[in-house]
């Protein structure tokens, strides 16, 4: 097919996906490693198991369709400007991988380093923001503090008037941060994993874990029993349900997290803006739609549905910051299920069950961590030892008290 003319709307189009993505194999009876959860983390883990560790006798089991959970439901923000050394370590590792991922996967993942602004609206916001900037700089992460007029230079449509309810008093800015196209990322990992011979098995729900003498031996699934040398759980919001099959209780709560998009709009918003104080974060995606998120719904929920008042509040907040959005339209909304921990940091590592590995608790931060955690989790599974970047994120920290408290530090956790 050829085009009659040039595209009518530059930028409103997306690059084509490859001609071939993956096989649809039937599950084998046994694998060296079974990864439960075919989302971004599971697929990235599979890819790095093969690429970095030469382990290819691997199955990724997905109860629905690949990357159909939080990977398909997030707002695709990528940044590494977290407060604590432990967090910035793994997120910066991830960001560095993002910077070469398009070539690595040979997939147009539309990684766009358009920068992320985290707005400050109160004096305490300023303190917390600057604290994060100073820490980031010493950790080698690009981070700056911007005064309101500098915020307006980065994103001219932000309302920096001092006469609003919660004026913008400044912002942290990470220029290397940005967004990517979520499906493309997941499919990029999936395609390469498949090419390594890894079996991506969809419509395959894990219904039980075989544990003998404190060691995991395989999984029961809706497509039969599958033996496994090692089992790696990467099931985000459903982690508690899976862990309970191994008799494990996790410090996780699963909450709905909603997001929405507008219709396609001519470019108005060149960066990513996040505001913790007024609860909204916004970017304009490649095709031109505004992609927005807000805070999580307060209660536990597995229904992939949230409450309307969250969206209303988010819209009011968006219009305070961006008055020009008034007549944009909310086109679609959706909700994911985020697994949150008491300290807003993930749990990645070994479990009390031998050969059973756990990656969960990413809350609202999972997407940006995808390559980084895939790398580290693959290392953990392959070697039986945590990678230095995920070593701090043990289950044990809740017993010792060595938390990595990211919400206490008022970092915007999205």
């Amino acid at each position: 097919m050829h085009r009659d003319t040039a595209p009518a709307t530059p930028g409103a189009d997306l690059p084509d996906h490859p001609e071939f993505l993956w096989r649809n194999p039937a599950p084998k009876r046994s694998y060296d490693v079974v990864i439960v959860g075919g989302g971004g983390h599971g697929l990235a883990t599979a890819y790095y198991l093969a690429k970095n560790h030469g382990i290819t006798n691997v199955a990724v089991l997905e109860k629905g369709w690949l990357a159909g959970g939080n990977m398909a439901r997030n707002t695709t923000i990528i940044r590494s400007n977290y407060l604590w050394d432990e967090s910035s370590g793994i997120y910066e590792h991830s960001l560095k991988l993002w910077e070469t991922l398009e070539e690595d996967l040979d997939y147009p993942i539309l990684f766009s380093q358009r920068g992320v602004l985290n707005l400050a609206h109160t004096l305490q916001d300023i303190r917390d923001s600057k604290r994060r900037v100073y820490a980031n700089q010493l950790n080698g992460i690009d981070a700056e503090w911007l005064e309101p007029d500098e915020v307006a230079k980065v994103c001219p449509i932000v309302n920096i008037s001092p006469d609003v309810r919660y004026p913008v008093l400044g912002a942290t800015y990470q220029p290397r941060a940005g967004i990517a196209k979520h499906d493309y990322v997941a499919w990029g990992f999936a395609r390469r994993a498949d090419a390594y011979g890894i079996d991506l098995i969809q419509d395959c729900e894990v219904t039980g874990l075989d544990i003998v003498d404190g060691r995991v031996r395989g999984v029961q699934t809706t497509r039969g029993h599958i033996a496994a040398g090692k089992v790696a759980l990467a099931a985000a919001g459903h982690s508690s349900v899976l862990a309970s099959m191994a008799g494990l209780r996790l410090p996780l709560q699963s909450h709905p997290l909603q997001a929405l998009v507008s219709e396609l709009l001519e470019p108005v918003h060149p960066t990513v803006v996040m505001s913790n104080a007024v609860h909204v974060y916004v970017s304009q995606a490649h095709k031109g739609e505004l992609v927005m998120g807000a805070g999580i719904d307060s209660y536990n929920g597995y229904g992939q549905r949230g409450a309307f008042h969250i969206l209303e509040r988010q819209m009011a907040a968006a219009l305070e910051l961006f008055p020009v959005f008034a007549r944009a339209h909310m086109l679609r909304t959706w909700a994911g299920i985020v697994d949150t921990t008491p300290d807003a940091s993930p749990i990645v590592g070994l479990t009390p069950v031998e050969d059973l590995y756990l990656n969960c608790g990413w809350g609202t931060g999972g997407f940006k961590a995808t390559p980084g955690v895939g790398w580290c989790f693959a290392h953990t599974v392959a070697t039986g030892e945590p990678h230095p970047y995920n070593a701090p994120f043990t289950l044990d920290r809740f017993t010792t008290g060595a938390l990595v408290d990211e919400h206490g530090a008022a970092a915007v956790a999205h």
């Binding site: 508690s240 349900v241 699963s254 008042h309």
Partner: protein, 102 residues
Amino acid sequence: MQLITCPWCGDREEIEFHYGGQAHIAYPEDPYALDDEQWAQYVFFRDNPKGPFAERWVHSAGCRRWFNAVRDTVTHEVLAVYQAGAERPAITSTAKGQEASR
């Protein structure tokens, strides 16, 4: 927006309430008899079931009373509400989609 049934004030919109997480978590009788791991279980670990869940809510914008509810975390349906301190009623399955008698 869910309606939550306050045992005292009846059905009210969810925004009038604050969520208190899992119900029936008692403060340990003797915290010093627990080892650190057991204490961590009390402080940080909560059930997270997919399905009926006994939860604590407070009617913050109303009568300020804490109470318990069994709510289905998939359908969001409130299956039972009862006062703090009362036993959890037996809920075997969710009466999905029925207009509850509330």
